[in-house]
């Protein structure tokens, strides 16, 4: 069967909807294989329809059906109408998107609250008192500070051990450009300082400790 470009354009929808008789369907197929223009047209329209068919039906506004019922049946005072009108504001809440939002918030809280030390089992109403909140926050901050101080002190000890062990291969004095923290002499009033006061993180100490560690690991 002979087929031309005008026929392709005129019968394309029937072809795509599989409404053409088999002979015409095949003829269009054969023609499209030889004609780039018709092949392009078939491909474009088929692709566009696939896109259009992907579209979901839009949701109608939740109150629309009730407005229609009110306009046609009047405001209903029947039992069903009454409870539906009470539940109407909740229609927005029943949307899947709202449920997804609630689940996300719950997951976030489940991850964040344990990190802040919150325990649902031991929670009482008095924990919400401003003084109680302040004390809890103060305790947490102090605890975090003390932990960081301990970490830095540990790092210093590691560095000191590292520098003494490596003393044979390195000069005893500080390297060029390297500074050591002032060591308090025995009997120096500074020696009586609180441990927490010693814990100012000295960036040079940390940096040198880090370089010492990496040097050792490279060896």
């Amino acid at each position: 069967m002979n087929w031309n470009c005008e026929q392709t354009e005129a019968r394309l929808s029937e072809y795509l909807d599989r409404l053409l008789p088999a002979a015409e369907h095949d003829a269009l197929d054969v023609h499209a294989k030889q004609c780039a223009r018709c092949a392009g047209l078939v491909r474009t329209v088929r692709g566009t329809l696939a896109r259009v068919h992907q579209l979901d039906m839009l949701e109608a506004p939740p109150q629309l059906a009730y407005n229609i019922l009110d306009a046609t049946l009047g405001r209903r005072s029947s039992q069903g109408g009454a409870w539906r009108s009470w539940l109407r504001p909740l229609e927005m809440v029943w949307q899947p998107r709202f449920a997804l939002g609630v689940a996300t918030v719950a997951l976030t809280l489940a991850l964040v609250l344990p990190l802040t030390g919150f325990q649902a089992g031991s929670f009482t109403l008095s924990d919400l008192h401003p003084v109680s909140l302040y004390r809890t926050a103060d305790r947490k901050i102090n605890l975090a500070y003390a932990r960081s101080v301990k970490f830095i002190n540990d790092l210093r000890v590691v560095y000191e051990i590292q520098s003494r062990l490596g003393g044979s291969s390195r000069p005893a004095g500080p390297a060029e450009g390297e500074q050591t923290p002032p060591q308090p002499k025995p009997g120096d009033p500074q020696r009586q300082r609180n441990r927490a006061d010693e814990t100012n993180p000295h960036p040079i100490i940390i940096a040198s400790a880090w370089s010492g560690l990496t040097e050792r690991s490279n060896r």
Binding site: L12, S13, R43, T44, T48, L49, R51, A60, A71
Partner: protein, 189 residues
């Protein structure tokens, strides 16, 4: 689930619950038809309400012999949409159609990830803009066939035109829509 025809019969006997069921069952379909035709969420809401008011008043004239309830409902909706189109033609000429990205586009079915929803929403807006650039005859043919899923025979009943005209309008509408979307940079699937 009770068939539409039985519900209509119950309605005609004055049973409010049957009418309620019909309204809940078909509101979304009518709203979609109105939205795809007008591209405006508020107008679509008003038109949907108008359609059901008309259906409520003329339900007695529905005859199952002449086709399904959905086809009849679509036919009533389409006639109102055409009236509305003619009534508002002058308004449309003085105001831009694309100054509104309607929130209705965001309300498509939502059992998807946010990314998929965003992509679907974007595609929906682009198709809507493409449809708005078709003539009303071609637009309604494409909407009825490809968005409302009616077959050729049902579209023939709704539009009241011969079969050949239906085929021709659907065909020209699809080709035109494909060209418009291509110009807008929408890649075919």
């Amino acid at each position: 689930m009770e068939a539409d025809l039985q519900l209509v019969q119950h309605c005609l006997r004055g049973e409010g619950a049957a009418w309620e069921e019909l309204v809940h069952r078909h509101t979304r379909r009518v709203y979609n038809l109105c939205y795809r035709f007008t591209g405006n969420a508020h107008e679509s809401e008003d038109l949907t309400q108008e359609v059901f008011l008309k259906v409520y008043r003329t339900l007695g004239s529905y005859q199952a012999l002449h086709g399904g309830f959905t086809t009849w409902l679509t036919s009533v909706s389409r006639n109102l949409l055409i009236d509305h189109y003619r009534r508002t033609r002058r308004d449309r000429m003085t105001s831009s159609l694309d100054d509104e990205d309607s929130p209705a586009e965001q309300k498509a079915s939502s059992a998807r990830t946010p990314d998929q929803l965003a992509l679907a929403g974007e595609l929906s807006v682009q198709v809507q803009r493409g449809l708005e650039r078709l003539s009303p005859d071609l637009r309604e043919a494409v909407i009825l066939r490809d968005l409302q899923g009616l077959d050729y025979r049902e579209i023939q009943d709704v539009l009241g035109v011969p079969e050949g005209t239906v085929k021709s309008r659907i065909n020209r509408g699809r080709i035109e829509l494909a060209r418009v979307l291509e110009q807008m940079g929408v890649r075919p699937a």
